[in-house]
């Protein structure tokens, strides 16, 4: 059933042929394809396939149909009077809208790009197997679900330390039939698991690697944001229908950057729309225990195949990030987002773990929504910014990018300890 005509994808910010976004002022490049020659052919295949796919009307229509009817991408935009009241009331601060991608199949924005990537692997690359990695398993769950539905084998690499943690999403990944491979390298967390997934792909070029965010070597950042941008395209149209105009401010949390990229992409050329990316300040940026790559002015490095801002020490060893939100626990940010930051098109803010946790409790109690803890970082920062702006003519769009079932145990403990 056709609920709405989804605006087709339009390329607004193409990288160059090598997958770089270049800041014209500084000459700084973001993206690229820094990887062992073993993976170059795999990437070229994905690159060529992706180009073909984006011109293949049958593929695009088939994918859209599945996204609409299986993932349920036509989620509502909810005007939140409760948040408006908290920020000072509509008359003072304008209107607040929540894009409800928490209502997606598998409860976050992730399934959109995950399903699209697996659908692409099946129909364009004719792959029979998917390789991916995971930290907190939001991505793994989404990829495993897509593989189950589309009949592909699914191999998930997870750090042994992460694998030992109680995780609803990991359990669901297993129920979806994925093969879970524990990685005992290095810190035994997300980064070595990502490396392990890439290495596994090295050995198995017939498989396809799927990444959980707008990261990795070209064409992954381009491909993931292109697939994910359907969220933003729908939201932009919905906002237009609802308010008759563009939102003044768009807010999204930023781990790797996929949900920020997804919602903000269609506004890149609408210069009047402010875009805010929110990172996790963890225990505070000055503590060093955070995941605020851009807000903390992390230098540029080459991580997992791409040039982008990276948390690392002065020898180039990647630093681990620290945050309550496992979905934000990543030491880099996708290259296009870094580029957007470098040209000041996206402004960055950071929310501490404590602020996010309090926001989580507030959301439950005042709005009846159980948000993913990741989404609480953006809600907190958005409310702060909205209060500061104090402009009743503005419409604010916040990406509520996930549902918090997997955060319940920790958050209930927090609630009981702090109330």
């Amino acid at each position: 059933m056709k609920l709405m005509k989804i605006p087709p994808f339009k390329e607004l910010n193409p990288p160059d042929n090598l997958g770089y976004w270049t800041n014209k002022k500084t000459g700084e490049k973001y993206g690229g394809q820094y990887i062992s020659p073993l993976l170059i052919p795999n990437l070229k295949k994905v690159e060529a396939g992706f180009k073909k796919a984006m011109k293949n009307k049958k593929f695009l229509a088939g994918l859209e149909e599945q996204l609409v009817n299986h993932i349920g991408i036509i989620t509502p935009i909810l005007r939140s009077l409760e948040l408006e009241d908290i920020a000072g009331g509509e008359k003072k601060i304008g209107k607040i809208f929540l894009k409800r991608t928490d209502l997606h199949h598998d409860s976050s924005h992730k399934p959109v790009s995950a399903f699209s990537s697996v659908y692409f692997a099946k129909h364009i690359l004719k792959a029979k197997k998917i390789i991916t990695e995971t930290g907190a398993s939001m991505n793994a769950r989404a990829v495993a679900s897509a593989c189950a539905k589309l009949g592909l084998e699914c191999e998930v690499h997870i750090g042994a330390v992460d694998a030992e943690k109680v995780s609803l999403n990991k359990d669901i990944t297993e129920l979806y039939g994925a093969k879970i491979v524990e990685c005992h390298d290095s810190t035994k967390t997300l980064l070595p698991a990502m490396a392990a997934a890439l290495r596994s792909w090295q050995s198995d070029p017939a498989a396809m690697y799927v990444v959980g965010s707008v990261c990795g070597p070209h064409p992954y950042p381009l491909m993931v944001r292109t697939f994910a941008s359907i969220i933003g395209r729908i939201a932009k149209k919905q906002m237009k229908d609802l308010t008759g105009k563009l939102p003044s401010n768009v807010f999204a949390v930023c781990g790797g950057g996929s949900n920020l990229n997804a919602i903000s992409y269609p506004y890149y050329k609408d210069k009047k729309v402010n875009i805010f990316g929110i990172e996790s300040a963890g225990k505070g940026i000055s503590s060093g225990q955070h995941a605020a790559t851009l807000t903390s002015n992390a230098p540029i490095g080459i991580l997992l195949g791409a040039r982008s801002n990276v948390l690392m020490n002065n020898d180039g060893q990647i630093d681990e990030s620290h945050t309550e939100a496992s979905g934000l626990d990543f030491s880099g940010v996708g290259p296009e987002i870094c580029y957007m930051h470098s040209i000041n098109r996206i402004q960055f803010r950071a929310t501490s773990d404590k602020e996010a946790q309090e926001t989580f409790l507030m959301m439950c109690r005042k709005t009846g929504i159980l948000p993913a803890i990741e989404a609480c970082y953006v809600i907190h920062a958005a409310l702060k910014e909205i209060k500061k702006r104090k402009n009743p003519k503005e419409n604010h769009l916040i990406h509520l990018c996930g549902s918090g079932e997997s955060n319940v145990a920790r958050m209930l403990k927090y609630k009981r300890e702090h109330e």
């Binding site: 394809q33 820094y34 020659p37 073993l38 540029i300 195949g305 002065n314």
Partner: protein, 273 residues
């Protein structure tokens, strides 16, 4: 071609054999042991690849990742590896060539120019940068810098690479080219001779550059087989495993170096046709 490599190849040619290349992670398990190991290995190896540890490498096997972990724990950093190579070179008498093997992020952070300068200063004869894309601006800078300083830029070529890619690589490659014998990670499978033959043929069509082969070579017998097809035979994981074994068994620096040296010496005999 880098002068030391000229000597290395000449020596081998004079003995009618291929060159033997050992890979070890620099500073595995620690600075002093590593130094002794390198000195010991220099006695039987034509070339030593010294791994510069990167904690988030995308192409190393778990064996090498854990060597990297040990090295980083012992304080490995880029400048330390240069110091190590310099000190080793000062102490050895052989013509053994030294190659750094690492990832671009550290070179980038170190500064490409500074990296090359320090290569020169510490006597590094060649560089392998696993994830340096041929088409990237960094690759271009490294290529130019190394060339100017007469240091080899050793490119990796995989069995899955097409002829266009090979051509592109060979353009920047100097002293020798490194063939990866199979699509996989180091030490995970047996050396694939068919791939080597196919790749050699493709390379030979375009260039006379000496060909090295690595991945999956773990016994003297493997070395023998490969040496029939290649100018250089690279052993890595099995040597790294020996280091781990020896140091886990609590051998002293001195004993560890001999333990590993003996093992490598034995391997290296495979290159004699």
């Amino acid at each position: 071609m880098n002068k030391n490599f000229q000597k290395v190849f000449a020596n081998a040619k004079s003995e009618n054999r291929s060159c033997f290349v050992a890979f070890v992670t620099g500073m595995d398990p620690d600075y002093e042991s590593s130094k002794k190991i390198l000195i010991e290995l220099s006695k039987s190896c034509d070339v030593i690849e010294v791994g510069v540890s990167f904690n988030t490498s995308t192409s190393d096997s778990s064996i090498i990742m854990s060597a990297n972990d040990r090295a980083i724990k012992s304080g490995a950093r880029t400048e330390k590896i240069f110091q190590l190579i310099k000190e080793v070179k000062n102490e050895i008498t052989s013509d053994t060539a030294f190659v750094t093997m690492g990832y671009l992020n550290q070179i980038h952070v170190y500064g490409i120019d500074r990296y090359i300068k320090d290569c020169k200063k510490s006597g590094v004869d060649g560089c392998i940068v696993v994830d340096s894309n041929n088409e990237s601006p960094e690759d271009e800078l490294i290529f130019k810098g190394l060339t100017k300083n007469d240091i080899a830029f050793i490119k990796l070529i995989a069995p899955t690479n097409d002829s266009a890619y090979i051509k592109q690589s060979l353009k920047k490659c100097s002293s020798w080219v490194y063939i990866i014998s199979y699509a996989g990670v180091t030490g995970s499978k047996d050396v694939n001779l068919d791939n080597v033959k196919k790749l050699s043929k493709m390379i030979r069509k375009q260039s006379k550059i000496p060909i090295g082969v690595g991945f999956g070579i773990k016994s003297q017998d493997d070395v023998k087989k490969v040496s029939k097809l290649a100018d250089l035979v690279v052993c890595g994981s099995s040597i790294v495993n020996k280091i781990k074994e020896g140091s886990q068994n609590g051998l002293s620096n001195h004993d560890l170096a001999h333990f590993v040296g003996e093992y490598v010496n034995n391997l290296s005999k495979g290159v004699k046709h």
